[in-house]
Symmetry: C2
Subunit: 340 residues, 2 copies
Amino acid sequence: MKKRLSINDIASQLNVAKSTVSFILNGKAKEKRISNELTERVLKFIEENGYQPNQLAKSLSTGKTKMICLLVEKISDYFFSHIAYHLEALAYKNGYKIIYCSTENDPEKTKELINLLRARHVDGYIITPPNGIEAEIKALVNDNLPVVLFDRFLPGTPTDYVGLDNYNGTFEAVEFLISTAAKKIALVTLDSQQTQMLERRDGYLAALRRHHIDPFILEIPFENDVDTTVSQSLDFIKSNPDLQAIVFATNYLALSGIKAITEAGLHIPSDISVIAFDDHDVFKIFNPSISAIAQPLDEMAEQLFKILLDKLENKVRLKDLHKVIIQPDLILRKSTKTRT
Amino acid sequence: MKKRLSINDIASQLNVAKSTVSFILNGKAKEKRISNELTERVLKFIEENGYQPNQLAKSLSTGKTKMICLLVEKISDYFFSHIAYHLEALAYKNGYKIIYCSTENDPEKTKELINLLRARHVDGYIITPPNGIEAEIKALVNDNLPVVLFDRFLPGTPTDYVGLDNYNGTFEAVEFLISTAAKKIALVTLDSQQTQMLERRDGYLAALRRHHIDPFILEIPFENDVDTTVSQSLDFIKSNPDLQAIVFATNYLALSGIKAITEAGLHIPSDISVIAFDDHDVFKIFNPSISAIAQPLDEMAEQLFKILLDKLENKVRLKDLHKVIIQPDLILRKSTKTRT
DNA sequence: CTGAAAGCGCTTACAG
DNA sequence: CTGAAAGCGCTTACAG
């Protein structure tokens, strides 16, 4: 294994001080008034010999690792893996690398992960927090580490935040369903106290209340597997035979719910209208295609990264809070229809 | 920001040499014959004050970062994000962190990524290589860096490898379709020279040849967007009205193809049987549910990680090659039917 | 304009 | 049993 070139090697081979080489490498040649001739000579040598600075040494001495961590509920979820994809492109442009971790929504695991990441001195944190890690988030903020929460936040824990206007998402979906003359509209949601789920529920309830319509809510336990979710959805549908529309609070609930509807022998949209929260590639493919309350994934990722980068580069003050609430897009496909 | 405790702080506060502290921390107390009493005292201090060693410093001095890189075609793809999820669990158990990067199947971008990752001294590489990076892979291997390729390999570039028996996957799928009395069986695949795609095609061709049946292959350009893929699939279906079955070489091609079949006014499976390569959550949900040639994602991830870890921990010789060919599972659902 | 030196926080041969 | 010292490869204040 041929040893990689170090700044020392360059300095000694060129008979220059290594500080000089370092300055040139970091574009401080002018500032340090190093002669053009020398600068050229060093740059040429580096070019020819393919020098790559050792990031570890750099990090140890500067305290910056140019790594950020992406701590999501589960990296394989459609929503999170797409956010990861968009974030990566932005990180790449700006010289950052991303470490991903899945919290599994487990506060203890999350705490440990944060600890491990601190030991590695990642520069910034993008986190979908489970409830119960308020103290750890505060500790990060106190230690001047940039943290942006997304998708959900921790009430009472002031941090940067990027999230959807979830309330408005379900509100408008329900308003739309009511405009199609649907009278009995259910919400299938998760048994979860996370803010994004609560907002979705509140939007649903508010829209119904406005029209003096009674709510019907099915709460699916968070830990369910697909089959259990399908059968619980099926039970719910059977015990509410006059249901005219269902709003599903996540795309995975919708997938299971659609299967349940099919198993119940009902047809979308003639028997029952469906709108899903969170879009999914396959909703376009389904027959009929499924309407969705879409989160603009690329815009979310951009906002997330911008807020983080501004702090990493000291473009904004660390302690100032930045919150971005993104409006969802109600994408109407073929899974809803006007009743007569 | 309260400064984090360093090994120096511990040593000076306890009036011990920092080498002693280091030995104790690394479990070499016995080996270095450090008194139990002192060991206890140091451990207790650490416990009480919450010391976390600085990984950067550790890495710089040991040359090991305990980071591995996962270089896939696109992290948001169903297959890759699920592999990422399973790998993460294994990495976590073993004290490793994972940096993910998407190659976009672009050799130039991939080369640059590899370079950047080398500068960061990641310990090992898991890569789905685009064609054209043979030299860089060889360079990694030459520099004694563990590399495991997966999903596809680079012919003529000897490395560790974990992949599916793609040939057998399509072979058995086609054999099955023939057993359902399908006579005209198409393959919709990508216009790609990657090994996994070639193997899938070969398996398809071999099964047909065995039964003296003519092949019909549609090649979709790799860069297509969904709509173009759908319309090309539609054209293909229309110009082959007597098609009785289609094998799709990826799950995404299947999703587009299913839409095309629907748009053509045909029904699965009564008009046309469908089998997809690579399973997908939604295939269970579709009506009818879609049969698939499934890659055992968890087993692939396990094999990948095991091969890498054995090399990282010097349990096997670096230069020995380990290849694992995993058998696919043909999962039969409702998208195929026996012709009469 | 340029160089010698200390420091980032660890590990580990070496000496006693 | 324990400590002083060099080294990993950088950065950066300081001195000339």
